[in-house]
């Protein structure tokens, strides 16, 4: 298997401009260019490794699996959110600019603070609720029932959709694409009974109604989750939920009761 530091330097080169932010010395991010050797198999992540090992050990970035499943290496490549491991230098023969994921506070260089997203994710309870735990009985689900939510279950929490979303950029309180897609995923799961717990947040000002269907979140998603579809299907669910609430017994209880005696 080829290791990043084995890229021979006699290969063709291109200019990779990387956003740097060193909190101990910079007040704002600055750009720094590197000449990077590449071939058809060199990913942006490989190139970052090469820079760190050969040119500048102070460069900071996140990565783990190198195969688009951990969701750690999200960066902006020429202004578009991408996974570093799934983006190849061969597609940018004139050079490329790599920056930290947009819409998140930058900790250092290409490392962002994703707490806002994780906070939203937690608020929407992305796990099975109301499931009786029984070791003896398997929880049966038909292939058709799995199909209903499977697409939305492919999310790897990489945060690219949050960087693509101008509504999240303008209002960080917006629950955002991935969190709402995962809430929708569990609402669609036949084993789950937690919809009533998730719906108040989804119905709120910062829930599904903050989305204006820019749709860029679905374009950049590296796993084909289509969060824009989840959010806008969520608007229908939210509308139905509102209609049901008008006629709910809780509302009727507030009307004066006839004396029974």
């Amino acid at each position: 298997m080829k290791q990043p530091d084995s890229i021979p330097s006699d290969k063709q080169h291109l200019s990779m401009t990387v956003q740097r932010y060193r909190p101990e010395q910079d007040d704002a991010p600055v750009w720094q260019s590197y000449q990077v050797p590449y071939d058809d198999s060199t990913s942006v992540l490989d190139a970052l490794h090469w820079i760190k090992e050969q040119q500048d050990s102070s460069l900071a970035y996140r990565w783990s699996c190198r195969m688009a499943i951990c969701g750690s290496c999200g960066v902006m490549v020429d202004g578009t959110p991408k996974l570093g491991c799934k983006t190849f230098l061969r597609d940018y023969p004139k050079g490329l600019k790599v920056a930290a994921l947009a819409n998140f506070p930058i900790e250092k260089d290409l490392i962002v603070d994703m707490n806002q997203f994780l906070h939203h994710l937690t608020a929407l309870k992305p796990y099975l609720i109301g499931q009786p735990s029984s070791a003896s009985e398997p929880n049966r689900q038909s292939p058709e029932q799995v199909k209903r939510y499977q697409q939305f279950a492919n999310c790897i929490n990489c945060g690219l959709c949050y960087s693509a979303c101008p509504q999240f950029g303008l209002n960080p309180e917006f629950l955002g694409p991935a969190a709402i897609a995962l809430a929708h995923r569990y609402n669609l799961d036949s084993r789950d009974q937690g919809k009533a717990e998730r719906q108040p947040a989804l119905n709120s000002k910062n829930g599904v109604w903050s989305c204006t269907f820019v749709g860029f979140c679905s374009t950049v998603c590296p796993k084909g989750v289509d969060p824009a579809a989840a959010i806008n299907q969520g608007k229908i669910v939210s509308t139905m939920d509102g209609v049901i609430q008008w006629f709910s017994p809780k509302q009727l209880d507030t009307t004066p009761q006839e004396p029974t005696s």
């Binding site: 932010y21 909190p23 101990e24 910079d26 704002a28 991010p29 202004g79 578009t80 947009a102 819409n103 998140f104 506070p105 930058i106 900790e107 603070d113 058709e144 693509a164 101008p166 950029g169 303008l170 204006t212 269907f213 820019v214 749709g215 860029f216 679905s218 374009t219 289509d226 824009a228 579809a229 806008n232 299907q233 608007k235 229908i236």
Partner: protein
């Protein structure tokens, strides 16, 4: 060690920064020529209520080149908006038949078929009007 995170801000012209955002804003901007078209129609209704001279005045007003150009732009804008809307529709309301989701391309084609049918119905109606004269 203390942290000093850099908080990025969205510039007012954020929507010019990426082709995807420009496409989105173009889609939203289709409302502007359509506003003019609706205004023209309402003005026409008002003129109709004011008598024949007023109505003929409106017809003349509508035939001015700049009014026709703006209304032609409104037609193009509404067709472009329909194009984007029809493409998004299968994402929002996937139709399921017999446990299978209908292919998005079928739904898009079905919507354009609907447009064609409405267009043909209008063509027939207006053609019938002219034919009787």
């Amino acid at each position: 060690m203390s942290r000093k995170p850099y908080q990025p801000s969205m510039p007012a012209n954020w929507w010019l920064k990426h082709p995807a955002y420009r496409f989105y804003m173009l889609r939203e901007a289709t409302v502007l020529p359509l506003l003019f078209f609706i205004g023209s129609l309402l003005y026409g209704l008002y003129c109709l209520s004011q008598g024949e001279a007023s109505w003929l005045g409106w017809l003349n007003w509508m035939q001015q080149p700049w009014v026709m150009a703006l209304n032609a732009l409104a037609l193009l804008a509404s067709l472009f908006h329909a194009f984007t809307f029809f493409r998004l529709f299968p994402q929002v309301m996937p139709l399921r038949l017999g446990g299978r989701t209908l292919p998005a391309s079928w739904m898009v084609a079905g919507q354009w078929l609907g447009v064609l049918l409405v267009f043909l119905a209008l063509w027939w109606l207006l053609g019938g009007y002219h034919g009787s004269n």
